[in-house]
């Protein structure tokens, strides 16, 4: 295990946070058929970080993704920020658990779980804090399924990204 201040690790974290933040910001600017729904490519980077560096690295990239993304889009501390934070936190937790508890799972499965957790956490926060109508949960099956599909895709992206970084950063 390398020490926490290992320059290689810091460089990798910096790279991944920048990447995740940029992807998050860019996605939020693109039009989407269902409001709030994004592909979540930033989460692919988070998963890569989880895989390569463990829970802490994954958490750092998750936090960085939301902060950097918020700074880039100028929407810091708004409702979108709160939702992104909740969703990413849930995704990090779910993916970390899946990585730890289920070795036979591949990237796609872990990412799918993360995406589902992301969507449900956002619904929960939205219904508790923002909208306060129970009818919001009626979106759950739709958003959940869309999130699943996106999660599978981002899982493949995470796999490719992990492979690429593995070759570059590990001795």
């Amino acid at each position: 295990m390398r020490s926490a201040a290992d320059p290689r690790r810091l460089a990798r974290l910096g790279l991944l946070i920048a990447l995740a933040g940029a992807l998050h910001a860019l996605e939020s600017l693109l039009p989407s058929p269902v409001p709030w729904f994004r592909l979540g490519l930033g989460n692919a980077v988070v998963l890569t970080s989880l895989h390569l560096g463990g829970v802490r690295d994954g958490a750092w990239v998750g936090l960085g993704k939301v902060l950097v993304g918020g700074l880039l889009t100028g929407r810091l501390l708004g409702p979108g920020f709160l939702l992104a934070l909740a969703g990413t936190a849930a995704a990090v937790a779910a993916m970390a658990l899946a990585l730890r508890a289920a070795p036979p799972l591949g990237f796609v499965g872990v990412s799918a779980v993360g995406a589902e957790a992301h969507a449900l956490a956002q619904l929960a926060v939205a219904s508790l804090v923002l909208v306060q109508t129970p009818a919001l949960w009626s979106l759950a099956p739709l958003l959940g399924t869309l999130a699943l599909a996106a999660g599978c895709l981002t899982g493949l992206v995470a796999h490719a990204l992990s492979r690429a970084l593995d070759d570059v950063t590990d001795p």
Binding site: H51, V108, G109, A112, A135, S138, A140, P141, G155, L156
Partner: protein, 122 residues
Amino acid sequence: MRRRAFTGADALLVAALVLGNGAMFLRGWGGSPAAVEVITPAGRERVALGAPRRLEARGPLGITVIRVDAEGARVESSPCGLQLCVRTGRVSRPGQAVACLPNRVAVLVRGSRPGGVDAVGR
């Protein structure tokens, strides 16, 4: 540190999650509250939500009075001892239920089916 991209376990997990979403949908969560189903020993009856109404459901102990309005339903009175059904209060989300077990009456909130969401605002 080698993890595969897609394994058999993944396929199973994704299938399970898809089923989970489907289950949420079928349980009436895939829509806004649209009706309540009143279940008594005599049978089931579906009552659409709308203007406030008063329903009487007959069970072995007597009549359970149910109030239905545009947002949900609640049990107003019932001939049971503990009055848990009355104390439950309103139910308004698809999937929620209130029941008087001694009198064998249940009220389930049902959602509308596909197309239940009319609009989503940003």
